[in-house]
């Protein structure tokens, strides 16, 4: 009844190709964005349920937004272009450390040339974007092997990126500005002259980034380049025979994906963590991102959000359950239980719905279209 496109006639090609062709979708999206941009800050400002304390914003919403952004990046590579990557954590790290270096001033002495490269500290927006750019460049470099190898072989090859950059950021002191502990702290967040400090402001900053990048990603994947990626994913040889250049398609996928993941990494470090060390971007992070993409749904922007929410919130919920039920269990047992339940749920979801939450969502929409008179 409510969700039906009957009667919504398209009278131009532009309307037919619109990003959200169904009116109800547009309305729902606008409402959601309104709630996210206005409603949640208001609730948080007046400390109303469920945002009575900072916890909800700080520990759930901000990491959810940033990880969703990273998951979108991973989904472009894994879900749309079919190149499995286990190195996403490294690209987050590259984004974070590059943004840190640009934010605190780059200084490369080139003594043998009698000169040096000095870049003064850049503002937040520029350094985050440059972090993404650095990540994209490295992404292209590590994407080159994908032209020869594919599938699980490629997955292992991307592990090389992960371990190599773990080591680089741990051992090459230049990246951490020679901090003795190896941990670095983000500079103050000056966003176009405005100091982003409180959790609400941080949340809005992340939300702005995520909204813009999600729209860009959504448009990319339904455009020319996205179709090329999907053709490569579905069968690369056939795509090549049709005239799609694998070099261009694969490397753009690596570049775009790494860029988004790099920006997410910079936000993760600057906005969420504040101070961090290389461990924040290790192999576990890569696996977590891959899980989000698979559970959420390969090849779906919406799925990236759903997967991120699920993987992020599940351990938090599991932590609370024994407390809520009043069962006395040790912290250690709880952490093991979280492992078991997470693993079992992943297996279960893969069995019952291999296409992830996004598929469940589209089934629900199909059902809703026929309701209340299914034929």
């Amino acid at each position: 009844m409510l969700y039906r496109e009957a009667g919504q006639f398209k009278t131009s090609y532009a309307a037919d190709m619109a990003i959200f062709p169904i009116r109800q979708d547009r309305i729902a999206l606008i409402l959601l964005l309104l709630f996210a941009f206005v409603g949640i800050p208001l609730l948080a400002n007046f400390q109303l349920w469920p945002l009575g304390s900072d916890y909800m914003l700080r520990a759930i919403l901000i990491p959810f937004l940033i990880l969703s952004l990273a998951a979108i990046g991973v989904n472009i590579l894994v879900g749309y272009c079919g190149q499995i990557s286990l190195g996403s954590g490294a690209f987050m790290a590259i984004g974070a450390y590059s943004a840190y270096k640009f934010g605190s001033g780059v200084h490369i002495p080139l003594e043998f040339l009698g000169t040096e490269i000095s870049i003064p500290p850049l503002p937040l927006f520029a350094s985050v974007m440059l972090g993404g750019l650095m990540s994209a460049i490295v992404g292209i470099l590590f994407g080159i092997p994908s032209l020869r190898i594919k599938g699980l072989y490629l997955a292992v090859a991307t592990l090389a990126a992960q371990f190599f950059f773990d080591w680089v950021f741990l051992r090459v002191k230049w990246f951490t500005n020679y901090a003795p502990s190896g941990s670095v702290a983000a500079p103050d967040l000056h966003f176009f002259g405005y100091l982003v400090h409180s959790p609400i402001e941080r949340y809005l900053l992340c939300l702005a980034f995520v909204t813009v990048f999600a729209l860009i990603a959504k448009n990319l994947v339904r455009g020319n380049i996205g179709r090329q990626w999907m053709a490569i994913r579905d069968m690369d040889i056939a795509a090549e025979l049709m005239g799609i250049r694998p070099l261009y398609a694969k490397l753009t996928a690596f570049a775009v994906s790494s860029f988004i993941v790099g920006v997410a990494g910079a936000l993760w470090a600057f906005v969420y963590l504040g101070a961090w060390e290389p461990l924040a971007f290790n192999i576990d992070r890569s696996l977590q991102l891959l899980f989000m993409v698979i559970i959420g749904g390969l090849g779906s922007i919406l799925g990236s959000f759903l997967g991120a929410a699920f993987i992020l919130i599940l351990p938090i919920m599991l932590d609370q359950v024994p407390h809520a039920l009043g069962i006395p269990v040790s912290v250690e047992t709880v952490s093991h239980l979280v492992f078991i339940v997470t693993g079992a749920l992943i297996c279960y979801l893969l069995i019952v719905e291999p296409h992830g939450f996004a598929r469940l969502w589209s089934i629900a929409k199909e059902k809703l279209r026929l309701w209340p008179f299914p034929y």
Binding site: I84, P145, R148, I149, G151, L152, Y153, A155, V156, A157, L159, A160, F163, F164, D166, W167, L170, R171, V172, M235, I237, A238, L241, I283, L287, L290, F291, I294, L298, E332, T333, H336, L337, V338, F339, I340, T342, G343, A344, L345, I346, C347, L350, I351, P354
Partner: protein, 309 residues
């Protein structure tokens, strides 16, 4: 001569350490060959086998059972644990996931990894448990030729012997027994194997069981070397470049790949590490694997990848 002696010592140490990587890689190859599943859980299985072994051994020794009997019983207990694990994995995860694509199966094994890690540590404890099955001191060999002799760790030699024996046993099993032949048939073509009457679920159980027993063997050696602890899981990650270099489908490849990785990373650490800062063992194997992939995408011994449209 001193320089050469040092090089030889590093090389031997590396080769023998590489054999231990091969032990983990073997489990991967077996499962990949027989079911096309890229088994990320192999490292977790090594951990589980090690924990079951060391905890039951400690338990029985504390009850006053003679050590040799306790070792045999503990090995049997660990083998039973691995068999149960194999049966559970086959029944609840891989059975329902049959005919899914490689990525889903791979993700499922990551899920299995989590479950095994959590359950293993919850049941058997999560401390570092020392295991004393093999001597851990070292020999000094060829003292006449090299000043002071070459240092060769006994546990590494044991590891090498065990790996050799294991490969021999596996070769006989695959070539000479009925089940082994069925395994190879399944590896070639699932559907065709099933159509000639090979019970495919049973075969997959056997494969996971064999991989579990290989994991147990690896656990005895690694556990003696490092103590049974959580970080053993990361061995699995070290076994991945071994697989890449050797090829996913080749048992000899796993051995040779292990040797190359072991020797390569030790030599790189000693000679290259001085130049660019230590700890390059951490990533050297992966970069080596990447280099091999660029030249031979299927690894040194892998079956040629033929693509059809």
């Amino acid at each position: 001569m001193v320089v050469f002696g040092q090089f030889l010592e590093v090389l031997i140490g590396g080769l023998l350490a590489g054999v231990l990587y091969s032990l983990v890689a073997l489990g991967f190859v077996l499962i990949f060959k027989a079911s096309g599943v890229f088994n990320f859980a192999q490292g977790a299985m090594v951990l589980l086998a090690g924990l079951a072994l060391v905890r039951s051994l400690d338990f029985m020794v504390a009850r006053g059972i003679p050590t040799w009997a306790a070792i045999v019983l503990a090995l049997m207990f660990a083998a039973v644990v691995m068999a149960i694990t194999a049966a559970l994995i086959q029944k609840f995860v891989l059975g329902p996931l049959v005919n899914q694509d490689g990525l889903s199966l791979f993700m499922a094994t990551i899920g299995i990894t989590f479950v095994i890690e959590g359950a293993g540590q919850m049941i058997f404890g999560s401390d570092v448990y020392p295991l004393r099955l093999f001597p851990t001191d070292a020999w000094f060999v060829l003292g006449g030729i090299f000043d002071g002799g070459l240092l060769v760790s006994k546990i590494d030699v044991w590891g090498g012997l065990i790996a050799g024996a294991l490969v021999a046993v596996l070769a006989i099993f695959f070539q000479r027994t009925k089940t082994g032949r069925a395994l190879r048939a399944v590896a070639d073509d699932h559907a065709a194997a099933e159509s000639v009457g090979i019970p495919i679920t049973w075969i997959w159980f056997v494969v996971w069981l064999v991989a579990g027993l290989v994991a147990l063997t690896a656990a005895t050696v690694w556990g003696t070397k490092l103590g049974v602890q959580f970080s053993i899981v990361f061995l699995a990650l070290k076994a991945l470049p071994v697989l890449i270099i050797g090829g996913f489908t080749s048992v000899p490849g796993a051995i040779v790949g292990g040797l190359i990785v072991g020797a390569g990373e030790k030599i790189a650490e000693v000679y290259l590490g001085q130049l660019i800062g230590g700890g390059i063992e951490y990533w050297f194997a992966y970069v080596l694997a990447l280099a091999v992939l660029l030249v031979r995408p299927q690894g040194l011994f892998g079956e040629r990848i033929i693509e059809r449209i």
